[in-house]
C-alpha cells in the first residue's frame, strides 16, 4: 500500500488548499479515500457528528502533477485513511509560494501523511518544510461504512440563493436562535425562519429556480405531482448550516439543496472539479 503525489502548479496548490480548508471547517476528523483517479473526503453520519455527513469528491488529475497509488490489494485498489483535516490545512497554509509540494504515505513510527514543501530561498538549495500528519489506516473490512450516500427521496429540490447573502442572513440569525427552519417549494421560493420567545425572523428568497432531476427509470420521486406552492420544511441546527456556508471560500458553479420534509436537508455544492455533498438531519 503506497501513496505518493506531487503538486507543482501554484494555482492547483491554492485550489487544493482551499478545498482542504473547507473540509477542515466542516469536520474535525474525517476519512480520506484514495483511488486511482479520485480523492474523497468522507464524513459518515455518526451520532458524534450530530448526524451530519459529508461526501466530497475531487478528480486527482485536476490538482496533482504526479499521483501514484497502490491500494491494499489488486482487487481493492484503494486506500482509506482517517485524519484530522485541520492538520493538512495547516501544513498547506504556509506553502503559498512553494516550488513543489509532495505528499507521501509513510510509516516510520506510525502511519503518517508526510507533506514536504519545497520553498524558494535566497541560497543555492531550497528550504524544505516537512509536516508529518498522523493518520489512521482503515482496514478493508470497515470500508462499507464509507459508501457514497444516495440522493434521498426528496420533496423539494431548489437552487440556493447567492451563498454570500445566505451566509450573512444565517450568521445574524445564529445570534438569536439555535434552530433554523429551511423551507422551500417547487416554485423557486425559499424561506429561512427562526422563532424564539421574543422574536421571529423570516427571510424570503424567490425566483431561485428548481433543478430538473431526471430519474433513471423515468418516474419522478415524491416531488412528482406536488403542489408548486406547497413548502417542504426541515428544522435544523443553525450552527451546522452556518459552518457549511462559512466554509465556502469560492462561489460554487452550482449550489442546491434537496429537502425531505421533517427529515433531512441534502446540500450539493458543485465546482468545476470538486463536488461537495453535505447532509444535515432535521431536529426532532
Amino acid at each position: 500500500m503506497r501513496f505518493r503525489a506531487k503538486i507543482v502548479d501554484l494555482a492547483c496548490l491554492n485550489h487544493f488548499s482551499r478545498v482542504v480548508n473547507t473540509i477542515a471547517r466542516l469536520a474535525r476528523t474525517c476519512t480520506l479515500r484514495l483511488t486511482v483517479s479520485k480523492l474523497y473526503f468522507i464524513l459518515s453520519d455518526k451520532v458524534a457528528n450530530g448526524g451530519v455527513s459529508m461526501w466530497c469528491e475531487l478528480c486527482q488529475g485536476n490538482f496533482f502533477d504526479e499521483f501514484q497509488m497502490e491500494g491494499v490489494a489488486a482487487e481493492h485498489n484503494e486506500i482509506y485513511l482517517e485524519l484530522v483535516p485541520e492538520n493538512l490545512s495547516r501544513a498547506l497554509k504556509t506553502a503559498q509560494n512553494a516550488k513543489a509540494v509532495k505528499i507521501k504515505l509513510t510509516n516510520k513510527h506510525c502511519p503518517c501523511l508526510r507533506v514536504a514543501v519545497e520553498l524558494p530561498s535566497l541560497s543555492s538549495s531550497s528550504r524544505t518544510v516537512t509536516h508529518d500528519i498522523p493518520v489512521g489506516v482503515i482496514p478493508r473490512r470497515l470500508w462499507n461504512d464509507f459508501r457514497e450516500p444516495s440522493v434521498p427521496d426528496f420533496d423539494v429540490s431548489i437552487y440556493l440563493p447567492v451563498l454570500k447573502t445566505m451566509k450573512s442572513v444565517v450568521e445574524r440569525m445564529k445570534n438569536l436562535s439555535n434552530v433554523i427552519v429551511i423551507e422551500a417549494n417547487l416554485n423557486g421560493e425559499m424561506n429561512l425562519k427562526i422563532e424564539t420567545d421574543l422574536v421571529s425572523v423570516t427571510t424570503h428568497f424567490k425566483d431561485l429556480g428548481n433543478p430538473p432531476w431526471a430519474s433513471e427509470d423515468g418516474c419522478q420521486s415524491s416531488a412528482q405531482g406536488r403542489d408548486l406552492e406547497s413548502m417542504a420544511e426541515a428544522r435544523i441546527d443553525i450552527k451546522k448550516l452556518q459552518q457549511l456556508l462559512a466554509g465556502q471560500q469560492v462561489n460554487p458553479t452550482k449550489a442546491l439543496c434537496n429537502i425531505v420534509s421533517k427529515r433531512i436537508v441534502h446540500f450539493i455544492l458543485l465546482h468545476e472539479d470538486v463536488s461537495l455533498q453535505y447532509f444535515i438531519p432535521a431536529l426532532a
Binding site: R28, R90, L105, L122, R127, V137, R141
Partner: protein
Amino acid sequence: LSRIGDELYLEPTESGLSLRAVNSSRSAFASFLFAPLFFQLYEPGGPAPDTERFRCKVHMKSFLGIFRSLPSLEKSVGKCLILLKPRASRLVLQLHCKYGVTKTHNLAFQECERLQAVFDTRSCSSRLCAPARVLADAVVHFPLTLAEVTLGTGPGGKISLRNYMEDEAEPSKTMMTELCLAEDEFQSVAVSPGSRITFCLKEFRGLLTFAEASNLPLTIHFDEPGRPVVFTLDDTVLEVHLVLATLSDLESDSQPAPTNGVSHLPAPPDDFADDLESYMAALETSTYEGATGRPPSPTFPLHSPRTGQSDPEEGEEDEDGAVPGTPPHKKFRSLFFGSVLTPGGPGLAPTQEVLAEDSDGE
C-alpha cells in the same frame, strides 16, 4: 520586553541606558542597551563619579501606555525626555509635542537590585548568524500556540527547526513539523555536530519581530542542552541580548532524531517506510477494542495547560495566556542570576536561582 515580563528594569550606566526584563519563572531574560550616542542628551547622573548608579523598575504596562500609539507619536512628538527623580520617587517621562503641548507622565518606581542573568556568549560552543528575515520566515511555519521548538543540526548538514513534543504527547496523535535551512542561508555557521537545544518560541518570536523591524542580523549562541541560549542583535547604538533557558533532559526525547555526534547523515532512505504492506497485514489480522474496531484516531492535540511549579519565592501563578511563555517546567533549568550588592548587604552566592529584590532590607 513586555513579552517577557511585567516589570521594566531601567539601569543608567556609563555605556548607556539599559532596559531589562525577566519572566516570573526566571527562564527568560532580555536586555536592551542604548548607547549614549542613541540619545540627543545622555546624563547617567549621580553627582560623584563613584556613587552607586540608581536603578529602578516600573510597571511595564504603565510605561508602555505612554507610548501607546506609535503612528500618532511619530507625527506629534518632537522630543521625549526621561528623568529619574529619586527623591520624589518618580520616573518622569515628558513628551514634547507639536503646538507647544507637553505631556508629562510621572511613573512610580521601585528601587531594585541589578538584574543580570549570568551568561557568556564566548563560552558557547555553537553559533549561528542569520538575517532576521530568514528566521522569521522559518518560524512562521509553526503554529502560534506551539510552546517549544528544537533547533539543531539536521540531516545533510542543514540546520533544522522542529516542534518539540512534550513527553505526555503521543507521537501517533501529534503533527510534527520540521524546517531545514541550508548553511548558506546563514551569514555564519559554527555549530558542533549533533548539537540540539529546545527553547520556548514565544519570547523568541518577540525578538524576531523587533529584529525584522530594525533590519538587524540575529546571532544565536548555544551550547549543551540545559545551558541557556543567547540571542543577540548588534548595532552601533544598540546591543540586545535575549537569554532563554533550554530543556536540559534529553533522555526522554521521544522524537525521531539523528543520533548525537552524527551530523552529516544523508536523508535516510525511507522507501521501505512508504510501503505499508506489513502494517496492513497486522491491521487485518489483529483484533480491536471498541464498537467500530477502528484503529485509534489521531485527534487534534489540545494544548494542555502547564502544570509546572510556580516560583516558590514569588508565589505568583504563571499567567496562563493563550500562548505559553517559557514555562516553569521542572526540566527547564532557571537561568542563574547574579546579584550585585553593595558591600555590607546580605551575601548571596552568585549561583542562587533567585533574584532577591529587597527594597527595604538594606
